[in-house]
């Protein structure tokens, strides 16, 4: 029969997870609407239809954007409204996770975990689609991915977003230097957004493979059922 139930996710993680899941979808889809106004990307300080683009795409279709019908003004309104929840929700979660030890105990990698032999073992385990861990903790690849999202993609999205604001450029000129120009920041913002989309799909796929009901329940109630030790 089923294994033992353990408490796996504390309240702050669960609340932020679901708020952020909703906000990320809105940010991504309204972001595609904003992108549609000029679907070309450049490196450097400037870039317009007279300059060579490193990426030029057709407009994203209505089913992928918020709102469905083309409206740059409404897309911006959604994007900049939800940006508050995105940025301050992330900040609150991050501070709280650093403060309550969540980061140190559950996400940070130990030296033995990042040892090549251990990582190789974990890669092989993932390749066999074996997610049935009898360990209550995250596996090394999972920790690396969460760290990249928490300290890479999300801060990059927030900071490149701020860099695109001409007002913020006047207040914090170092931001635009950090990314090598406003158009570089716009390109990085786009790349990071698609990095988040990739994370989203891999995350959903792994939840499905690892047992969706148990995984989703653990993110709602906090309780996770360990695999049957006798199985």
């Amino acid at each position: 029969m089923a294994g033992q139930m353990i408490f796996r996710h504390r309240m702050s993680t669960r609340v932020w997870h679901w708020i952020n899941a909703t906000v990320m979808v809105v940010m991504f889809m309204s972001g595609l609407m904003v992108f549609n106004a000029h679907p070309r990307l450049y490196w450097g300080h400037f870039g317009s239809s007279h300059d060579p683009a490193w990426l030029e795409l057709p407009r994203f279709p209505g089913w992928a954007t918020i709102p469905t019908d083309y409206s740059l003004a409404l897309g911006r309104l959604w994007h900049f409204g939800f940006a508050w929840i995105f940025a301050f929700g992330f900040l609150a979660y991050l501070m709280w996770s650093l403060f309550n030890g969540h980061w140190r105990k559950d996400v940070a990698l130990s030296r033995t975990e990042v040892a090549p032999s251990n990582l190789w073992h974990d890669i092989k385990k993932h390749a066999r689609l074996d997610f049935h861990s009898d360990d209550t903790r995250y596996n090394p690849l999972q920790k690396i991915t969460y760290s990249l999202v928490l300290f890479g993609l999300i801060p990059l999205l927030i900071m490149t977003g701020l860099t695109m604001s001409p007002g913020m450029n006047a207040a914090m000129p170092w931001l635009v230097d950090l990314f090598g120009g406003r158009q570089s920041a716009r390109s990085l913002h786009f790349i990071a957004a698609f990095g988040m989309l990739a994370f989203f799909f891999v995350h959903i796929a792994l939840v499905m493979l690892a047992g969706p009901i148990n995984e989703v329940r653990s993110m709602i109630t906090g309780y996770f059922r360990l695999p049957d030790p006798k199985a």
């Binding site: 106004a37 300080h45 003004a73 911006r76 309104l77 508050w84 913020m168 450029n169 006047a170």
Partner: protein, 256 residues
């Protein structure tokens, strides 16, 4: 358990989910209360930017070799109508920049008068709301000098820039924009008559355009023929302070 999750079910589920999400979002977009909530967040963005950005904080200025090879012209590129055509034919010799409204001494400056005033030259980045940027060198008279000459009254809270173009051509509506006094008195806010050491081309707003460097391109009114100092934007065209603000839902504050 996971045997219940078929691939078809999964793809179908995702499709239905995103369809529900989208129709939900579109319904929210049509809900006035939700839009006004988002607009409150946008006022929050305005308030936080105004508090973070020092009044006199300058927009980045660039070196000459950092300019765009071609400075993109957008929006109206050739105002329609006999009046503007005559100004082109006359090389703008009879163009006047009127300053009126809440001023002690209404003015009508000719271009030679404007060029004879102390000038400011700045190489700045122009950011369109659409997402593109172009860097160009602008020369013009600081707006503050024109306002000082006009005796701006304390009751004036906004400047309204009336332009010579009907947006969208014949049958279009007059383009206009407005800024508050923080931007009006900012050292980089100029009425520019030169772009990259040439007279401003017609496509970029000849003979005079506003430069308000800490905001997006639609604030930078082109073909400016009148600056009106007002206490409130109520009753000026649609009351929201600009062509795009009135008709297309763009925000009056365009620092983001």
């Amino acid at each position: 358990m996971s045997g219940l999750i078929t691939r078809r079910g999964l793809i179908g589920g995702l499709g239905v989910g995103s369809g529900l999400l989208l129709s939900g979002c579109d319904r929210l977009t049509k809900t006035p209360g939700f839009i006004s909530l988002l607009e409150k967040a946008e006022s929050g963005n305005f308030a936080i930017q105004r508090s973070l950005i020092e009044r006199g904080a300058l927009a980045r200025e660039f070196r000459p070799e950092q300019r765009s090879p071609v400075f993109k012209a957008n929006g109206t590129r050739m105002p329609v109508g006999e009046s503007y055509a005559r100004h082109i034919a006359e090389n703008f010799a009879n163009w006047r920049l009127k300053i009126d409204g809440l001023v002690a001494r209404p003015q009508a400056f000719s271009l030679p008068q404007i060029m004879a005033a102390p000038q400011r030259t700045q190489i700045t980045r122009h950011d369109c709301v659409e997402g593109w940027s172009a860097i160009g060198k602008w020369t013009g008279v600081p707006l503050k000098l024109l306002l000082d000459a006009s005796g701006l009254r304390d009751t004036a809270k906004y400047l309204v820039f009336h332009c010579a173009d009907l947006y969208g051509g014949a049958g279009g509506r007059p383009y206009y924009e407005s800024i508050d006094m923080i931007d009006a008195l900012h050292p980089q806010t100029i009425m520019a008559w030169a772009l990259n050491d040439q007279k401003v081309p017609v496509g970029n707003g000849a003979p005079l355009r506003l430069r308000v460097e800490r905001q997006l391109g639609y604030k930078h009114a082109k073909y400016v023929e009148r600056i009106e100092a007002v206490a409130s934007l109520d009753g000026i065209y649609g009351g929201k302070g600009g062509y795009w603000e009135d008709g297309h839902g763009y925000q009056w504050y365009a620092g983001i």
